[in-house]
């Protein structure tokens, strides 16, 4: 029976889709059966980030409207055969998502997967609200800057009030994934540091993904970063986060600027 995880943030551009793809690929590489669903109807991107854009025939809206079966719409990844994608429609808008339809799709996916990852659109409207409604727990993605953190705080409030779990009076588990973390800039006080973010959001930290050009390269080539360059710093951070999702105890180290190349250069000059 699957764990249903929503990847959400409120603010756009913080790395929800990248993180959903990277974590999905990391879990699937470890042998788990994973499906990643794109809820960003009208502005779909997950198919590009996962390199499946040329193979989309049916999408989530077709399944919800009954014009395609779930099995027809699931796209199997070419690299890992336990990783699947359910794409969003690019020609419809978010009004095509219905509560009943989403609930039925998730119910049908639960028995045949270990993980159902719902990639939420930005905002707090219909798409985002339906992506989180039927989730078992949530991954809140934030960048270390104030607007992203405030939007994430808003999303946490909605997770605690509008989801099915919240309506049944059950606690909604939430974890923070801090992305685009730049230790040098945080050290200089140009970004919020990890403690600042945790102090505001008050939810457990699942992982810290360092800012890296590897992430952009991976998105552009349509390969999740955990597959394109598994030894890179962001890939290792995503792999650790995926292992923590599975319940493994992996020590979390806050990236520091002690050993960065830039610091060594400056250090030498100062000496």
């Amino acid at each position: 029976m699957a764990h249903v995880l929503v990847v959400t943030s409120g603010k756009g551009g913080v790395g929800k889709t990248t993180s959903a793809a990277a974590l999905g690929a990391a879990l699937a590489r470890g042998g788990e059966r994973v499906v990643v669903i794109d809820f960003d109807v009208g502005l779909r991107n997950l198919d590009l980030v996962m390199g499946a854009e040329r193979r989309v025939v049916y999408d989530l809206i077709h399944v919800i409207q009954g014009t395609a079966k779930l099995s027809q719409a699931l796209i199997r990844d070419k690299r890992i055969d336990t990783l699947f994608l359910l794409a969003a429609s690019q020609t419809r808008d978010k009004d095509s998502l219905t509560d009943d339809g989403v609930e039925r799709v998730i119910r049908e996916l639960r028995p045949s997967f270990d993980w159902v990852i719902c990639d939420s659109p930005a905002g707090i409207e219909r798409g985002a609200s339906l992506a989180m409604r039927h989730a078992d727990f949530a991954l809140v993605v934030a960048n270390p800057e104030v607007s992203s953190v405030r939007d994430s705080d808003r999303i946490i409030g909605l997770l605690d009030s509008t989801t099915e779990k919240a309506k049944n009076g059950e606690p909604m588990e939430k974890y923070l994934l801090l992305t685009r973390y730049d230790p040098v800039r945080a050290g200089r006080g140009e970004m919020l540091c990890v403690d600042d973010v945790l102090d505001i959001l008050c939810i457990p930290l699942l992982g810290i993904i360092p800012e890296s050009k590897e992430v952009l390269n991976a998105s552009n080539t349509g390969t999740p970063v955990t597959l394109s360059n598994p030894t890179s710093a962001p890939a290792r951070a995503y792999n650790d986060a995926a292992r923590r999702l599975k319940g493994e105890l992996v020590p979390l180290v806050v990236p520091s600027d002690k050993n960065t190349l830039l610091n060594k250069l400056f250090g030498r000059r100062a000496a």
Binding site: I124, V146, R150, D151, D153, R154, I156, G157, L158, D160, D199, I200, C202
Partner: protein
């Protein structure tokens, strides 16, 4: 003979509305001079506003009261009603408003309704952080938050507000006209604090009070804040 049919239907409903409540002070002439000063600074202050005058703290004769009404209407202040006046003074010129009294008599007339007037004056405890976008309104009594109040969250309380965490959002204490309400927090980073309508925004908070544990109360018309170190 053509039968007469009602051409309009008569509909009514109960409703509560916001009005500006003005409290005149004696001597009335000095108070009217203050009103004129206010109007010279901001001529549109009362424009388009529904104004209720509250004379419950004053004992005015009928002549003084009617004179006050004339003076206010000369200044184009439109009086919606009067609160706390002796009904014999009002003389039918303005509606006589009685705050909450109608509700109370209705409640006591209905035996099925428990008289929970005193029970409702209770404090509200919230045992979790208040998130951005959340609005907590507790018109009677205190609000206690065990956790932080996020930027973009708002707490409105009839009584005092206690935040056992960082206060980053907006808090409005004494919202029901209670000038003895206070605000307490472990760490002050508020966007706005108000007691009985007197407010300050983040820019007006002195730097040495920021990020400090504080309490705030009303001293006259000014919000006083001290640290509680």
């Amino acid at each position: 003979m053509p039968t007469s049919r009602p051409t309009t239907s008569f509909k009514f409903r109960g409703g509560s509305f916001h009005a500006l409540v003005v409290k005149p002070e004696t001597p009335i002439n000095a108070w009217l001079a203050d009103v004129d000063t206010l109007l010279s600074r901001s001529p549109g202050f009362f424009a388009g506003k529904s104004v209720v005058i509250d004379v419950s703290d004053l004992s005015l004769t009928k002549e003084t009261f009617l004179g006050l009404l004339d003076e206010l209407s000369k200044r184009e202040i439109r009086i919606l009603g009067v609160e706390g006046a002796n009904p014999s003074c009002v003389d039918g010129r303005v509606p006589f408003l009685a705050r909450g009294q109608t509700d109370k008599s209705e409640m006591s007339a209905a035996p099925a309704m428990p008289s929970s007037a005193s029970a409702s004056v209770s404090s509200l405890l919230i045992d979790a952080p208040v998130r951005s976008g959340q609005l907590i309104v507790h018109p009677e009594g205190d609000v206690t938050i065990v956790g932080s109040v996020a930027s973009g969250a708002e707490i409105i309380a009839g009584g005092s507000i206690h935040v056992y965490g960082t206060l980053r959002g907006r808090v409005l204490a004494g919202a029901d006209g209670n000038d003895r309400a206070r605000i307490f927090c472990r760490r002050l980073e508020a966007e706005l604090m108000a007691i009985d309508g007197h407010y300050i925004v983040a820019d007006q908070i002195e730097p040495h009070l920021r990020k400090a544990p504080i309490q705030a109360w009303l001293e006259g018309d000014a919000l006083e804040i001290i640290t509680m170190d």
